[in-house]
């Protein structure tokens, strides 16, 4: 028989790759022409935009329509049927979550029919829902419970047997599922699929047997799994770190920003009995849309780690022993003084500072540069991007991604390093149709959403970027990949937003700098410099970078201004991290301050870090943990951590936001900035700073890019302020922030503002203008001040050296960061430390076959620097001729292979069997 298989193939619409599926959001609710409509809700006339959903319009005007499946950040599915209302002229009941408002619409949300329908749906939802509220994590803050109290019937008429499932089953290391409590709203499965792109949970079976499933052996290991727990409207999904830890009525919350990476997602941090127990995502339109990654969500555990250092210590007879603060500070100050006497300020260096707040960074910068007089200061560790580049490129905000002509991602794997930014880029590409051009050494998180991926081999990124920039600039015809990328921009207006980072720490930073230089040639290019460390941007902005003073001004440009403000500044530009480590190795650093940094584990060149730490003179650790680096310190000054101190931080787009204090530290740890102030006092300078607000006000006064961003503005700006404010005045929204769950129990997160607040915010914006103008003039007019220095601009001009030729047997090393790495946040969090993967050398299938090894076999890996034994596996994501090893994973040892002074790292891989 002729088979239907033999029929000619169907032609695919051009340009649609097989894998690309028109996802659910391609089905759009019909809307009218843009404009405003007027409708009546429960007798009140309200205005809305065409295309708005009724449920949202009602909510914005103070009418809460109950709902379970609807979530503002996801497409409506209309499945729970809880949000039924009556619309005059339409037959039957309408679900307000999928009803688009229309002019003249008359809606009744409280009519008898509407109430009856809502009550009825609730009754049906409850018949199979267990009555275990007293032992349920959600009890007390449960939308189902609350809706039942507000809308529900009094008693149950259901006398039959309820549906039974095995009680909670783990669906991942972090999330448990209780199917009996599930009301099949599909929020979690839609989140996993639509938002996170990790469709590892789905609905299985059907009808009353519908359940959320994972594929056996393939758990819900999404970096974003915790969000499902937060948006589940019942207690069906619970997080293992929080389970049974607290009851909602015992909790109190403070609004904060997560500083696990440099995105700084908005959150509400909650504690019970002076212990942090939960971080909830808060919806911030410009930053995180309410989402958090799991590392950020559960990383608070590190704060209560047993291993925290709780009291100062000094080295006595070779041992670090506890002592009093005055003693420790005196010893530290003495050590610094001795170094200064011995060889002046250039023999003193400070590494780190990316983990603290802006206040910490500023006071330490003032201490190092204004008091000690050294410019050997670096918040990065040879793994980043030089400050002159990072602080000087034309900038884009996160929200600019949504409206970009195209997004170019250079280097880093956003999913591993800045996960919630990854979600934003994914959304822009997938949902908003922004062309995504990826320039990376291998297939990574965003590759599947990229319109085009250009592979760049280690050392060749600059050159690849040049060809791309040429093509984007109009010079086509030399590179097919670049031409294809450029073609994507045809007919699209707007900026090209470049997300720039380090995709390969085994390759010299010059390669990335060159790429930035090339792309910066494009007049429409604007950059988001994606450095991962929590507040690295704030640290650099506030002076913890060589050659820079607070507020994005160079040492030279700011000399006079800061000379006036501080008294003195270093004479010459100092060393960066690599230079500091090298100088230390050579015995030229007599005092080394380690400000929450661990070069031993976190610097790509382990031999260099090790040599430096061993040879450095007097070492002061300002840290919360004894690490491989800080264990060598002569004096240990314990610091408070995130959650234990208030302040501000600056994210990768330059947005300054608040972090809140929720618990007090046990022990006597101090905020970093206060330690700097204490040391300054001992070196004869009184900063006269007592509160973080005072530091903020000083920053606003003296740091040019932060002009006007003082404590008042920070307290009132709902989404923070992007520095410099003068360039981002439209983004300033003044108004109160509502913390989720505490005041409103309907939704875990109530995105945005209430209507009334919105009105407030609008008038407040004029106020903001006035406020800002006021601040600017007050700075300019302060008596006797020199003219304010200009902000630094990066003008390019850095070149990289072409990498040496690779011999045919060598593989060029790529090493990048993974989310769950060897860092202290993961290592000291019980829940996260379980998630760290074993290091495996990944090579292309072709290279595996050439070398002749099986997946999982042990191989010997040798570079010019060192040698390791590791398991190997083939992965099609890896390009031929390259090998990938994750950076800073326990046991990966990759930093033993890297030499920071070389452009690339070539490996020899030999089978051991």
């Amino acid at each position: 028989m002729t088979d239907v298989n033999d029929v000619p193939k169907v032609e695919r619409p051009p340009g649609v790759p097989m894998s690309q599926w028109p996802s659910a959001y391609e089905y759009v609710l019909p809307t009218g022409a843009p404009g405003t409509v007027t409708l009546t809700i429960d007798g009140r006339e309200v205005k809305a935009q065409t295309g708005d959903l009724l449920i949202k319009v009602a909510q914005d005007h103070g009418t809460y329509i109950p709902r379970f499946c609807y979530h503002e950040r996801m497409k409506p599915v209309g499945m729970c049927r809880m949000c039924l209302v009556e619309v005059e002229g339409m037959r039957g009941m309408q679900i307000s979550c999928a009803t688009v408002v229309a002019d003249g619409m008359v809606v009744h949300t409280q009519s008898d029919a509407a109430r009856q329908a809502q009550d009825g749906v609730l009754e049906l939802l409850l018949i199979n829902h267990p009555l275990d509220c007293p032992v349920c994590d959600r009890g007390g803050e449960c939308p189902l419970q609350d809706t039942t109290l507000a809308f529900g019937p009094g008693e149950s008429r259901f006398v039959e047997e309820k549906r039974h499932w095995e009680k909670p089953i783990p669906i991942s290391e972090l999330v448990l599922l209780d199917r009996e409590r599930c009301i099949q709203c599909g929020r979690c499965t839609r989140f996993a699929d639509e938002i996170a792109g990790d469709a590892l949970i789905a609905f299985g079976s059907r009808g009353a047997h519908t359940e959320v499933i994972t594929f056996p052996g393939d758990p819900f290991t999404s970096y974003f799994s915790g969000n499902t727990v937060q948006i589940c409207p019942v207690g069906a999904l619970t997080a293992t770190p929080y389970r049974f830890r607290a009851r909602p009525w015992d909790l109190s919350a403070v609004e904060t920003s997560c500083t696990t990476c440099s995105v700084h997602c908005r959150g509400a941090l909650e504690s019970s009995s002076n212990r942090l127990v939960r971080l909830l995502g808060v919806d911030s339109e410009p930053v995180n849309h309410g989402w958090l990654c799991d590392k950020g969500r559960f990383g608070y555990e590190v704060v209560h780690s047993e291993d925290r250092v709780r009291h100062p210590m000094v080295r006595k007879n070779g041992e670090l022993v506890e002592c009093s603060w005055p003693e420790a500070l005196d010893v530290a100050a003495e050590g610094l003084k001795r170094a200064l006497e011995l060889n002046g300020p250039k023999s003193v260096a400070l590494l780190g500072g990316a983990r603290g707040t802006n206040e910490d960074a500023y006071v330490w910068a003032r201490f190092a540069k204004g008091v000690v007089g050294t410019d050997n200061v670096d918040a990065q560790l040879g793994d980043g991007i030089p400050a002159e580049v990072a602080l000087g490129l034309p900038e884009a905000t996160i929200a600019d991604l949504d409206r970009a002509a195209a997004i170019v991602v250079v280097g880093l794997d956003l999913k591993e390093e800045v996960p919630v930014l990854y979600l934003r880029v994914k959304r822009a590409a997938e949902e908003l149709g922004v062309p995504l051009i990826e320039l990376a050494p291998r297939d990574q998180g965003l590759t599947r959403y990229a319109s085009t991926s250009i592979r760049s081999l280690p050392g060749e990124q600059g050159e690849t970027a040049r060809r791309l920039a040429d093509a984007l600039g109009g010079a086509r015809g030399t590179d097919a990949g670049a031409d294809a990328a450029a073609a994507l921009l045809e007919g699209r207006a707007g900026d090209i937003v470049v997300v720039l980072g380090r995709g390969d720490l085994a390759e010299s930073a010059a390669s990335t700098v060159r790429a930035a230089t090339e792309l910066a040639r494009l007049p429409q290019a604007r950059f988001i410099v994606a450095l991962r460390r929590g507040n690295v941007r704030g640290a650099m902005d506030l002076g913890l970078a060589p050659g820079f003073l607070p507020g994005r001004v160079t040492l030279d440009a700011g000399r006079e201004w800061f000379g006036h403000a501080w008294g003195s500044v270093p004479a010459t530009v100092g060393l960066d991290a690599e230079g500091i480590l090298r100088a230390a190795e050579q015995g030229r650093i007599h005092a080394l301050m380690l400000l929450g940094t661990d070069p031993h584990d976190d610097c790509p060149d382990h031999a260099l870090a090790e040599g430096a730490l061993n040879a450095a003179g007097f070492t002061i650790a300002i840290d919360a943990f004894v690490t491989d680096s800080t264990k060598r310190a002569d004096v240990f000054l314990p610091v408070t951590m995130w959650g234990e101190k208030a302040g501000s931080v600056t994210n990768l787009e330059g947005r300054v936001q608040r972090v809140g204090q929720k618990v007090s530290p046990d022990g006597t740890a101090m905020p970093d900035w206060r330690i700097a102030a204490e040391l300054a006092l001992r070196l004869g300078v009184d900063f006269d700073l007592e509160q973080p607000e005072e530091v903020q006000d000083e920053i606003a006064r003296v740091a040019p890019a932060y002009t006007g961003i003082d404590s008042t503005l920070l307290r009132r700006a709902r989404d923070g302020a992007v520095a410099p404010v003068a360039d981002h005045r439209d983004e300033l929204v003044l108004g109160p922030v509502s913390i989720p769950l505490t005041d409103a129990r309907w939704e875990p997160i109530r995105p945005g503002l209430d209507a009334v607040e919105l009105e407030d915010a609008k008038t407040a914006n004029d106020e903001a203008d006035a406020l800002r103008a006021d601040r600017l003039t007050s700075v300019a007019q302060s008596a006797g001040a020199p003219p304010a220095p200009a902000l630094h601009r990066f003008t390019g001009g850095v070149t990289d050296t072409a990498p040496p030729a690779r011999d045919a047997y060598a593989l060029r090393l790529v090493t990048g960061r993974t989310l769950y790495d060897g860092g202290i946040t993961v290592a000291a969090s019980d829940s996260l430390s379980e998630l760290v993967a074993d290091p495996v050398l990944l090579i292309s299938p072709q290279d595996r076959d050439r070398i002749g090894v099986e997946d999982g076999a042990e191989v010997r890996v040798t570079s010019a620097r060192g040698s390791l034994t590791l398991a190997v596996r083939a992965d099609a994501a890896i390009g031929t001729g390259t090998a990938y090893l994750p950076f800073n994973l326990p046991g990966s040892g990759v930093s033993d292979l890297v030499d920071l002074s070389t452009a690339v790292t070539d490996l020899r891989v030999e089978s051991l069997s």
């Binding site: 028989m1 002729t2 088979d3 239907v4 033999d6 029929v7 000619p8 169907v10 619409p13 028109p22 391609e26 089905y27 759009v28 609710l29 019909p30 409506p76 599915v77 209309g78 499945m79 729970c80 049927r81 809880m82 039924l84 037959r91 039957g92 009941m93 679900i95 999928a98 029919a113 009856q116 329908a117 009825g120 749906v121 009754e123 049906l124 939802l125 018949i127 199979n128 008429r157 259901f158 039959e160 047997e161 009301i183 099949q184 609905f203 079976s205 059907r206 009808g207 009353a208 047997h209 519908t210």
Partner: protein, 440 residues
Amino acid sequence: MAVTETRIVTNRLREFTEDSWTIDRYLATGGYDMLRQALTMQPVQIQDEQVKASGLRGRGGAGFGTGQKWSFLPKGIYPRYLAVNGDEGEPSTFKDHMLIERDPHQIIEGVVISAFAIEAHIAFIYVRGEFALGIERLEQAVADAYAKGFIGKNILGSGFDLEVVVHRGAGAYIAGDETGLLSSLEGERAMPRIKPPFPAVQGLYAKPTVVNNVETMSTVPHILRMGGEEYAKLGVGRSTGTRIFSVSGHVARPGNYEVELGITFRQLIDELAGGVRGGKQMKFFIPGGASAPWLMPEHLDAPLDMDYVGSELKTMLGSGAIMVFDEDTNPALIAWRLLKFFAHESCGKCTPCREGSMWLEKVLFRISHGLGRPQDLDMMLSFGSTIVPGLNAPFSQTTICAMGPSTMSAVVSLDRFFREEILEMCNAGAARPTIPVTSA
């Protein structure tokens, strides 16, 4: 005068029982002539002068005007798709099964003409997975039609291209709902989608799509043969033409009967299907598949007219399945079994349907097995009005698809016609039925 069948769509398969499904027989009986003719016409001519003029209404259940449905396709948006609904799962409907097994080329010809008329270049025929023989024959027919140039590139030299893909279902009644079908065709759970957007605007792959039933498609070539206006002369009122009715249950001659619309239920059931077998009396009958509210013997003289049945009898002709039950039937048992079906087949998306059908099934199980409580019937009506507000025909609904309200048809019918009997059963803990059954 005794009624007879009016065999239009079923003529070939009745005449040539040995080989009605082969391409040779099809060609020998004038097959694909209408396709040839259609390809010389303008698509809009077929739409307006033929299909719309014929008054053809969909044979899948909802009875929506076929020409009208086609005209909803937004202008200028391509590609468009045609999806043919052969999922026939409505209990006691077995006409599409017969058409697929015994006259697949007739469907294909209708599909190619319709695709041409709506300017689609891919058509999917979604066939219920359990129809193994039907799928085999349909796939064969598609292959033969390709071979003969009735499908494929440049059909019969006209320049019109069409691919036809036979898509096999896998056991889900809800895949018969038009948006459920599209989800299923997209490789998904067959979950119906919220409307709007309607399939005509955003259907398969979010592109304009027409979903039509197998019998509807099979009728299209005959409309062209007869001429739209001529076809419209058959039938009654807005119910034009013929329809195939599947008659089953306690009748002497169960089977498919193609009749001109407008004859009475009595003519169909008594004269064609031989009436209630074994000399028994009819207790009640269901006129349009499991989803339709029931009727009583006193309704037998009503005409088979979609509008009349809807407005006067508060039920529907639906899928054309007529189930007849004799005097000994326990109506609660039938209602329970139908609810067991709905509970089993609810996709689970809408709370009222998912939970409501399960609850109704459990209560009806008790009632039909002698464990009813006096308040049960009213309680079902009470929580059932969450699914069907007001419980008045035509049913309004709180669910996405029409399956939700269908779950209440049997319960509403019990209340309409058998309230006393049910209450008596509940009060007396009436005798258990003889059939051992378990609740789903």
